[in-house]
Subunit: 458 residues, 4 copies
Amino acid sequence: MSHIRGRFQKAMDRLVARYTSSLPSDWRLYRYDIAGSIAHARMLAKQGIISEKDAEVIVQGLESIQEEIEQGRFDFRTELEDIHMAIEARLMEKVGEVGGKLHTARSRNDQVALDLRLFAKEAINQTLLKLRELQRALVSLAEANKDVVIPGYTHLQPAQPVLLAHHLLAYFQMLQRDIERFKDCLKRTDVLPLGSGALAGVGYGVDREFLARELGFGRASQNSLDAVSDRDFVLEYEAAASLCMMHLSRLAEEIILWSSAEFDFVELDEAYATASSIMPQKRNPDVAELARGRTGRVYGRLMALLATMKALPLAYNRDLQEDKEGFFDTVDTLLATLEVFAGMVATLKVKRENARRAAERGYLLATDLADYLVRKGEAFRTAHDIVARLVSYAAGKGKPLHELSITEYREFSPLFSEDVRSITLESSLAARDVVGGTAPKQVARALVRAKRISHARP
Amino acid sequence: MSHIRGRFQKAMDRLVARYTSSLPSDWRLYRYDIAGSIAHARMLAKQGIISEKDAEVIVQGLESIQEEIEQGRFDFRTELEDIHMAIEARLMEKVGEVGGKLHTARSRNDQVALDLRLFAKEAINQTLLKLRELQRALVSLAEANKDVVIPGYTHLQPAQPVLLAHHLLAYFQMLQRDIERFKDCLKRTDVLPLGSGALAGVGYGVDREFLARELGFGRASQNSLDAVSDRDFVLEYEAAASLCMMHLSRLAEEIILWSSAEFDFVELDEAYATASSIMPQKRNPDVAELARGRTGRVYGRLMALLATMKALPLAYNRDLQEDKEGFFDTVDTLLATLEVFAGMVATLKVKRENARRAAERGYLLATDLADYLVRKGEAFRTAHDIVARLVSYAAGKGKPLHELSITEYREFSPLFSEDVRSITLESSLAARDVVGGTAPKQVARALVRAKRISHARP
Amino acid sequence: MSHIRGRFQKAMDRLVARYTSSLPSDWRLYRYDIAGSIAHARMLAKQGIISEKDAEVIVQGLESIQEEIEQGRFDFRTELEDIHMAIEARLMEKVGEVGGKLHTARSRNDQVALDLRLFAKEAINQTLLKLRELQRALVSLAEANKDVVIPGYTHLQPAQPVLLAHHLLAYFQMLQRDIERFKDCLKRTDVLPLGSGALAGVGYGVDREFLARELGFGRASQNSLDAVSDRDFVLEYEAAASLCMMHLSRLAEEIILWSSAEFDFVELDEAYATASSIMPQKRNPDVAELARGRTGRVYGRLMALLATMKALPLAYNRDLQEDKEGFFDTVDTLLATLEVFAGMVATLKVKRENARRAAERGYLLATDLADYLVRKGEAFRTAHDIVARLVSYAAGKGKPLHELSITEYREFSPLFSEDVRSITLESSLAARDVVGGTAPKQVARALVRAKRISHARP
Amino acid sequence: MSHIRGRFQKAMDRLVARYTSSLPSDWRLYRYDIAGSIAHARMLAKQGIISEKDAEVIVQGLESIQEEIEQGRFDFRTELEDIHMAIEARLMEKVGEVGGKLHTARSRNDQVALDLRLFAKEAINQTLLKLRELQRALVSLAEANKDVVIPGYTHLQPAQPVLLAHHLLAYFQMLQRDIERFKDCLKRTDVLPLGSGALAGVGYGVDREFLARELGFGRASQNSLDAVSDRDFVLEYEAAASLCMMHLSRLAEEIILWSSAEFDFVELDEAYATASSIMPQKRNPDVAELARGRTGRVYGRLMALLATMKALPLAYNRDLQEDKEGFFDTVDTLLATLEVFAGMVATLKVKRENARRAAERGYLLATDLADYLVRKGEAFRTAHDIVARLVSYAAGKGKPLHELSITEYREFSPLFSEDVRSITLESSLAARDVVGGTAPKQVARALVRAKRISHARP
């Protein structure tokens, strides 16, 4: 896959150059490319493949190129195919012929795989940190609203009262799984491909363990053909990102619903909403909407690379160049979304009275009534039927349950007595006293655990 | 969806601004935005909603902004949300308060829909032209190699001989369907949304027919809620582009196969291939590989927008902002791919001897042998069985059919006689003398038709 | 691609047979397969390729097989590869050797393409009818609730009042585009592939025009290689179905929202909802939820076939067998969803008072207030600023606009006078008197048009 | 989400029943449903929530239902919504009222989550076993062809010689990553949801640890809202399956290429290929083609569920019912594909002479020539340039390198001497003596490792 012109006389025309160049997106790998080349140069010298002096010249050249790039003085010439060629060409300009020695025992195929893995490792670590931040924001919002009751929904219909904190901790759990997934992905990313050459392994006595150590990899790849053509780590990141964005899209949806005039459970901080020019009291949940919308984008990038990789014969094919742009975009989108969500969640104002009022409407205590009858000896399904008829009766009268008289209750079952009055939102919550349940006691414990986790290194 | 700060005191922080801005991608709508605004201003004046003088000031202001942009003098401030706000803000700077009148009887919701439709119409027209170009390249390659025979494959196994021209015209047909699809898409894109306001229609006596005429639309939208939230035209383009890229990926695959050392049917022009640094005689089909790889990218963009649009309530939601980047990328990718393919196909060198040799190997005339027996009175399935046994016999001997003696033939069926020798590649081709068949006569006619079509306006 | 065993001695084991058989899904093509074979037999006789008598025997055999299948007496043996082989094998059993003649001048490749196109044409026609049904349901719901006002939303925030009928007609428009798209797809489906043989065209004097007429096709395919490997029509159906499901998912989402306790704008008929066992007054919008969920399914099928078709070399490859199951599932899902939606929409009860109350909340007349000022001479953007401040003031006081005194109004602009009281929900609606706007006059006209269209043949 | 009719009088019509029923696909969960119910009944008794005797009656009832199902005597009535209702209804028939007690402290929401997790765990374990089988098949094919040389390709152009065994071990590595991924997925699947109730946790003193132990789960879920709405484990399986199918599609592509007349490196066993009816010597790689095609299918199922889950508010929504069919299909497809691949790979015949001949063509030793010059002191890039010119010269003459005279060599560099003759396919292979390289020594070691791994429990 080396691409320097040989007997090709005709210049590849601008159109084709533009079509094939990845420089517009892969320039951002420069740091990894230079770090990889420096380690490679040192290894070559250590193994006596090039001289220590040559290595030194190369390393200094590379360091000064990094400086040029970071100071904006580097000329990214679009006729160059990619960041590797751009840096290589500049190195030759700076240090002359000796620069050519850097490519001993290396090919662009293992080089590009290396750069992308270095980038991916950093991306995963960043992602883990941002996931933790959002976990902390959820915990802090939950703690600040420990006793807020909201309706728990199924089918978007109010079903049973739950603590808002419990609801928020559901997202904490999702993010925890995301963290585990990204960590698992990291294990498979943390593999040095350098030494695989173009496809068959290099024909020099390189020290791959040294390279792995220098570049912070846990281990070296075991098969050169696989190493140059494997993009599983990119796909696995994109799949984990898709799941994570899916979780965020669910939270986004709820924030949008809760911010609506009809639900009105929360108020977005103005930094995370947009006002209408003419109805300035309104807060449009633009950030949440964009996050929801960008879920599709991340899905699309995953699907794109899956389709691209399908049925490619070994080893390297130029199709693989398509891995980068989608990967970068996925990382950028996910990191930015996690970041804005942390801020949006942390600053969310909860309208506890509205939420409670909603939980009091409907017949959210129906299940508790049935449990009450079961405890008094009624069979489960029969208890359900009794309560169903009772609720129908009340709904027909347009009355909440607590406005029914005991006589009315007893028309449905003689097991009802005065103590049915003790069934309240609070008793309902307290009754779900099981691990993972919404009982305040359980939620308090879950919050302690979540807080501890959210402050631990991911 | 107007977003000017009202009572919001806190500045939306940089992070959120970056997260929500679409300026990095939608700046390229500037031409459509200005054209739309000019037509709107003229309509407002015509209807007496603003004065002729105000309209003139606005139009001149807009024209000078266009000049600024095209001369690279326009300051795209990233804190502005999108291209519409950027132009609006600049207009206010240039012409003062009167600039504000431009937004009478218009909302950003119908404005952004308008801009995107204007862009889409131009994109479709460009696409149609590029499709035609590639059709012409196919026709010219076919004409230049009118009598080249290649093996026709099923399951990537040689099956029957076909003319290369016939094979190329299969792609012509695919592109013709693509053209029809894009034209159908154009019908549904060619609809003016302006006048729909934020969502309910505007409260002024606007003249939508005038606007449609000025801006070259075939008709005006019939429902304001639909008009501001409809992105079908983008999705339809992306779906048509996905099919078209699928076609191109098939051609790319074949070019890659045919360029391989094992097939060796064609040689890519060096402008459309890349040489290895060390095996300069090799031509890597990078352009074809990239096109094949980018098929996934275009699929992904379609999937992204489908996912984004799913389950959005009416009317405008900020999620819709995600329509643009993927659309632009799809258009850019498709146009560039069509363009490089036209060049790559036009300059392809066919190695006719290699192709013919491949068509002579195997037993590609087996079907013709069976047809021979059928014509002599054998039942179709029996004829097949006879030939199957004959071919097995020949393969066992390692002989091509024409090396078998008539005696050997007649061991399988007494119907064989000396005239079986007249079955050749040429007779096989000639026999497929049915509309759509590979007989030279049919292909010649098809080429004439294709040539005519490829020179007609799409 | 004919697959009868030749010198293969070993029986393909059950596992592989199961892996490769498409009979479990393609049995439902039997009607098309038989119709195609009958037409083919008649054509062969007409052209003198087989005798009239043989044709008659074959046709009768096929007709009796159709009867067997429809009466459940047909033995679908799973060791047969597909429906074509199953019918062929049965025909041989029934009519003996003569059955083999049916396959003269035909291959399974053009046969399977034919069957699928016949199925697709019927599927499209069914789809068009169901789309019309749903359009009629929308029109009838709109007519029955002609004067119901609801809040029009952007960002799920109430923005401006609209007529429910106007809102429903937005969906009418979407479905109208769907109809156009399926009709366009029909044009490209309505092409006879028979005569293309395995890939190169058949070597007999077939009459493709006759076949096209017999089988009701508009025209015959123009390139045999394309005809046997083209699945564009399936993909195009799936893409159109994806857009249509996207539209339905938006309607589903709104029905779910509107059925929620918080919105409470509509009540689902009990036939289209599910009750909770214990809160029987609740109606879970299961049908709408499933439709929303199945949108993903239809998207997935599109993506699947796009991925499958990518980079396949010409002509037939066995990968193409994967076209059917997803296509059938897409057709079934879409038809069923359209059908249940027609019923669900037609029986929806609108809670007009709740909807109106919601439209009265918030400050949905703000835009009308600004337009009022503009009409009195204020510049558009200034008018907006004044109203924004006024709304802020009112919101601060917790008052709706109509509870402000004229004096309070005039503190924001001297242009306000007593006639500001004439701005009401009704005046706001009436003001959007533009084609596509929500003014009752416009909506009435749109309803008339929609009704007429919905009763016309698609 | 319980759905027994309450005050709903009207019967849900057949259409809707069919639209909403999941019984046609979820009947296969019966074993998990019954196992879950038995454990639940035992736990209820252990906790004194129901009597031991009632539990016994229930358990016996469930066991006899399982028998009925497995003996084909169970009547799956399609008017029942799902497998849970079907079993519940049958239990009531068999044991009467007491059956109703089974549902104490349980909801269909946690029940369905439980069943699906039990199924998923078994599916993962099956997948791991099948992955191991295929690994063993690869190892055994590699061992049997230890010294076979093939061209290693980049861009489908021959690049450097590699051992076939090395090439096959690249797939071993991919499958090893697949195994790791499925094992990671198992960790997150191995979580008991029972006890979460409808959404808020159950209001009884259940023993979730007991349930987890009984049912073989590693731990219990920590949040009830999350537990009933989490389908990450399905998505994660589908993502891992997509990657695995992608790997298999690459192997399928290579088998298809290698089986082509042009490559002709391998011969498929007739059990895994299909013959043409008329060219019986041909073996169509149908199994490989179908596997390649079904890659799209698995991708599509992933995309479907991602789209379905997007933006769903907590907790349970009926959309989630869509999880099952795609999941079952993915598991079935992947397991079957792994199984047929194991057989296909194990029986593949390698045509070693053809492969070697292909490796001798081209100039696959060019890199070795350059390395030779570098070892003699030439700078890396210069050495490349020299060899490039040399190869051009040879190609121009139409000669392989070993036919050039030393004089001709020395015209390009004086460093060439007689020992250049020692550069052969074998020396080239041997030179890649680095971990992961294709040197026979390295490959032998890799094979030993691979064999050991492939026989260990996954």
